[in-house]
Symmetry: C2
Subunit: 239 residues, 2 copies
């Protein structure tokens, strides 16, 4: 019987993958994913059939994974971070009617990035994707406003692509209505991958040119501060 593993590959570095994720890929006949992510896990792909394509090829990838599983193959479909946040778990569970599906969780980008900044999250947090390919921008805007108002630590995913270079600045301007000018912001590009770049700055000094699709931004809450090069959000303990 075929089976689909929806595998969260975290940073894509084997060190950050769970043992369950590595095992699932090793157990698979076929590995399906975005070309950029497949190349991160090359060392696991010897003797595997690999099907990869580009961004916006998500549904095609799901269809292929389901087809091969129906033909009796074990198929891993991979997502970076956790597959259950803006990843492949959703479309697979929506489409894979009669197949066995196992979703293997992983480390989502917010925490990969956090680990390189100090302890920037720590308290109630939210994630918001700035991609409006699948979500009306009014919905995104409302969420940014609510999250800023209620003092959540906010991680912004998909902050920029060629088609939308101004969404990030627009989002930050909304958040600034509710946060101090010196609110710390952590910017992490390629977290725990080759070419990682880590910047700790403030909300009024963000360098927008540094940001691309492989970047997440963590915006501190009203209590977040910078100390010794670390970004720290207190949980509230007294020392």
């Amino acid at each position: 019987m075929g089976k689909i593993y929806v595998v969260s590959i975290s940073s894509g570095n084997i060190l950050d993958m769970s043992n369950r994720a590595v095992k699932a890929i090793r157990d698979s006949d076929v590995v399906v994913g975005y070309t950029g992510y497949v190349s991160l896990i090359e060392e696991l792909l010897k003797d595997k059939e690999v099907y990869s394509n580009s961004m916006k090829g998500e549904i095609e990838r799901c269809r292929y994974a389901i087809k091969r599983a129906r033909e009796g193959k074990k198929v891993s479909i991979i997502s970076s971070g956790d597959a259950g946040l803006y990843g492949m778990a959703g479309p697979i569970f929506e489409m894979a009617e009669d197949l066995e599906v196992e979703y293997i969780p992983g480390i989502t980008a917010a925490f990969l990035a956090a680990s390189q900044l100090g302890a920037p999250v720590m308290h109630d947090m939210c994630t918001i994707s700035l991609s409006d390919l699948l979500t009306p921008f009014e919905v995104i805007e409302r969420r940014i406003k609510s999250a800023a108002e209620a003092d959540f630590v906010i991680t912004l995913y998909n902050p920029k692509s060629l088609g939308r270079i101004n969404h990030l600045q627009y989002a930050i301007n909304i958040i600034r209505l509710y946060r101090r000018d010196d609110t710390p912001v952590g910017i992490v590009k390629n977290a725990l991958r080759k070419n990682q770049k880590v910047i700790i700055t403030t909300i009024k000094e963000i360098d927008y040119d540094l940001v691309d699709m492989s970047t997440v931004l963590i915006i501190g809450n009203s209590q977040t501060y910078i100390k010794d090069g670390y970004m720290i959000t207190p949980r509230g303990y007294k020392y």
Copy 2:
């Protein structure tokens, strides 16, 4: 030179830990943690000095970890889920002035739970802890209201303890002001541990007696639905 690893142990099952987390613990002389979490990783603790204590012993644990690291030891201080969300990363970075600290990220409870429910998160999400030990309940209440209003998928952490048995019901009643009665709710106790329990229900039918401190609840957004025993939040793809 001593060093502190802040290690996220995810579910506590070695299968869910990252290879980086396992390596850090193997590399440590001393392992520090809440008694309940230390017992989950017993197989990694042979020949280690272990310091554990009970809930509310967090600061004592940090002090001990820092003391032993200052004495030249390699020390792992562990948190379940991701140590950077309601865990030990914060207090360690706040207190460990002159020490080398490495925070190793992991899978936070929201995604451990999600993986057992289908694809309940998928879209913009937030986490809110209902523990008011360190946070005024008014702050928590405001976040619940904002998150519900802005249609985030909401994961509730620390939903119940002996001292606060009604907070959860109070929180759910706020959320119900903004969500349909049949909004799906996933309840997962001991995610990916022994004695795991998984329930998919609706917001009006939550059985509050099932919930304890080892439980998280994932409340769907306005689009979440139940299909074939899975809880699914669509990302917005057309098929």
